[in-house]
Symmetry: C2
Subunit: 353 residues, 2 copies
C-alpha cells in the first residue's frame, strides 16, 4: 500500500512524541511491505513565530493532499497569560479542524491491565472500563460568534448547533455502538440550554433508526460525576465540542494517564490523529514525555484511514508487551511496583518499535 502522511509536530512536546509516532509507522511499513512517504507541516506557536500565521496556507494544502495526518499539539504559556493576545496557537488548531471538516473526534478510553495501579481511581472500579467518546469538533461555542461590548467590559461567546451537525455525529456514534456494547449515552445540559435541547431532540430522532441501541440522555454535570463513580456503566458517549473537551480530559484518569490516550478526528475527507494531551510546556525538551499516546494515534491512523487492521493491532500489542515487560514513562510509573523500568520518550518509543 502506498500512502502519503503529513506529520504536524506543532508545539511543546508535540515534536518529541510525533517523532516516535512516525518511527512506528516506518517500522510498520518495513515489516508489512507498505510504502509510506512523509512530509512535514507547521502549525501553532511555531508557525506564528515563522510566518505570523498559526496555520499557514501551505500547511493546509499539504494536509488536504495527504492520505492521513499525524498531529502533535499546539499551545504556549506566553499566550495563556496574556488575555489580550490577538493571534494564538489554538486558532491554528480550530481553523484546521474546520477547514478539513473534521467534525467527529473519537477518543477511546481503555485501560491497559498493566496500568491498573497507575490511576488514582480504585482498580476494582476501573477494571474492564472501555468507553468510546464521540466529541463533536467543528461546532458549539468553539465556532460561534464572540466578542466584547460596553467598551470591552462585557464579553460573550455563542454556543450554537444546527440540526445537521448533530445528525451526522449521532449517526457515527450509533453505528459505533452497534459494533460494541449497543449502548449510547448522549450528554447535554438540556435542562438549561436551548442548543442542548436541539441536541437531545435530534439524538432522539436519529435513535429511531437504531432500535438495537439503548439510548440514555445524561446532563453533563451528572456525567462528570458518573464517569468517576462508575466508569463501567458507559459504552459509547456522544456529546458536543465543549462538554467533550472537559469530559474526555477527565476520563483520561480512567486510562491511568493522559499520556496514554489517542484520538482520531474524522469527517468527510482526510483523517487526523493526535494524542489528547496538550503541548505540556513544563516538560518540553526534557525527554520525559510519554510517547504512547502518539504511537496509539498512529495505530488508529492505520486502522481508520488505511483500513490496516492487522498492522494497527500489531502496534497496540507492541505497546501492551512494552508495559508487560515493566517499561514505563514517569507519568504512568507506580512507585509501589519495584520491577518497573522508567524510560525517557525516545527509548520508550524504540522499545515499542
Amino acid at each position: 500500500m502506498k500512502k502519503k502522511i503529513v506529520i504536524l509536530p506543532g508545539d511543546g512536546i508535540g515534536k518529541e512524541v510525533t517523532a516516535c509516532g512516525k518511527k512506528i509507522l516506518e517500522q510498520v511499513a518495513e515489516c508489512f511491505g507498505h510504502q509510506f512517504t512523509f512530509d512535514y507541516a507547521t502549525i501553532g506557536h511555531e508557525a506564528i513565530e515563522a510566518t505570523g500565521n498559526p496555520l499557514p496556507d501551505e500547511s493546509l494544502e499539504k494536509m488536504k493532499n495527504s492520505d492521513a495526518i499525524l498531529f502533535g499539539a499546539v499551545g504556549h504559556p506566553k499566550y495563556d497569560n496574556d488575555p489580550s493576545a490577538k493571534v494564538r496557537p489554538e486558532q491554528g488548531l480550530l481553523k484546521m479542524r474546520k477547514e478539513l471538516g473534521l467534525y467527529a473526534n473519537l477518543r477511546p478510553i481503555k485501560l491497559f491491565d498493566e496500568l491498573l495501579a497507575a490511576s488514582s481511581i480504585k482498580p476494582e472500579i476501573l477494571k474492564g472500563a472501555d468507553i468510546l467518546f464521540f466529541r463533536e469538533l467543528t461546532g458549539d461555542v468553539y465556532f460561534g460568534e464572540r466578542g466584547r461590548k460596553d467598551q470591552g467590559s462585557t464579553a460573550f461567546d455563542t454556543m450554537i448547533y444546527s440540526r445537521y451537525e448533530v445528525e451526522r455525529i449521532a449517526h457515527k456514534a450509533f453505528k459505533a455502538a452497534l459494533t460494541r456494547g449497543k449502548k449510547l449515552t448522549s450528554v447535554d445540559k438540556a435542562n438549561v440550554l436551548e442548543s442542548s435541547r436541539l441536541w437531545r431532540e435530534v439524538v432522539q430522532e436519529v435513535a429511531k433508526q437504531y432500535p438495537d441501541v439503548t439510548v440514555e440522555h445524561m446532563f453533563v454535570d451528572a456525567a462528570a460525576m458518573k464517569l468517576i463513580q462508575n466508569p463501567r456503566s458507559f459504552d459509547v458517549v456522544v456529546t458536543g465540542n465543549l462538554f467533550g473537551d472537559i469530559l474526555t480530559d477527565e476520563a483520561s484518569q480512567i486510562a491511568g494517564s493522559m499520556g496514554m490516550l489517542a484520538s482520531a478526528s474524522i469527517g468527510d475527507t482526510v483523517g487526523l490523529y493526535e494524542p489528547i494531551h496538550g503541548s505540556a510546556h513544563d516538560i518540553t525538551g526534557k525527554g520525559v514525555a510519554n510517547p504512547l499516546a502518539s504511537i496509539l494515534s498512529a495505530a488508529l491512523l492505520l486502522d481508520i484511514s488505511f483500513g490496516l487492521k492487522e498492522e494497527s493491532e500489531t502496534v497496540i500489542k507492541a505497546v501492551e508487551q512494552t508495559l508487560k515487560d515493566g517499561y514505563r514513562t514517569r507519568d504512568i510509573a507506580d512507585a509501589a511496583t519495584p520491577h518497573e523500568k522508567i524510560l525517557g520518550t525516545e527509548v520508550m518509543g524504540n522499545v515499542v518499535c
Copy 2:
C-alpha cells in the same frame, strides 16, 4: 436569637431531606435557646402543577422577607425528556438565584475520614483533600440570550460575563483563600473563549490586591483531570457558572458521595442553603436518600447567615459522630466494612439529631 427561616422543599427527594435539615435546626434552637420560626414555600415541578409557575411571586416574597432559606432540589424527568417543554422546574431555580442576587455559590468539598473507603478514588490520593469552590451563579450561559433560528433548525445560547460580575466573586474567593491555604485556582477556557479571557483579565487584576494569595489559572479541561489526579493540589477554586456546575458535581466523588455535599448561595441579601444533589427521582419516596447534605446545609446556614459558629460546628460534629458510630445511608455504604448499619433518610436524620 430570633430568626425566620423559609423551607423550600421543591421536587423529588427535596421534601425528604429538607425535613431532616429542618429538624436539626429545631434541635439547635432548643439546645442553644434560639427562636427559629419556619415557613414553607413552593418551587419547581410542584409549583408548576399547583399554579403553572415554577416560582410563584408568593414564594419569592416569603424568601425576601426571611433571614435564611433552606432549599431541597428541583427537577422532573417529564421535562427532561421533552426538549420542547415551555415551562420547566429549573426556570424557577434560575429565577430565584437571579432575583435574590445569589451570585456566589460556595461548595466545600471535604471528606469525612470515616468515608475514605466510600469513594471510587484511592484513599491515599484523597486523604487530606479540602477544596472550597466558588461557583459564579447569576451569569454565564445560564442567563445569556438563547433561542432558535432558521425555522428552528439552529439553536443558540450566549455565554456572557461582565467585569463587575467577575470582580465581586473573585473578591469573595480571594478573601476566603486568605483564611485557608492562601492558594486560589481560577478555572476558565481562555485559550478559546472571549468570556474566559475577560474572566482571566479581571482575576489577574483583583489578584494584585491580595499579594499573599498564590494564584493559578487553569483551563477547565485540565482542571477536570487534575481534580481526580491530585485533589490535594487545590485549595480555593473560583470559576464561572457552567464550569462550576460540572466541576463541583465531579468533585463530589472526592467527598465519597454527592449525598454528602452542602452548598451556600450568597449575595447581597438573604442566603440560600442546599445540597448539591438534585431531585433524584429514581429514589424519591423510597426513604433511602442521604439527608446529610441537607443537614450540612443547615450547618452552613447557621454559620454564614446567622454567625452561629458553635452551633454550626456542633451539627458537623454530630454528623461526624454518626459516621464514626457506623451509621450509613446506602450511597455511602462500603460493602467491605461489616460493622456498618444502613439506615433510611428519616432514621439517619434522627440519629444525627
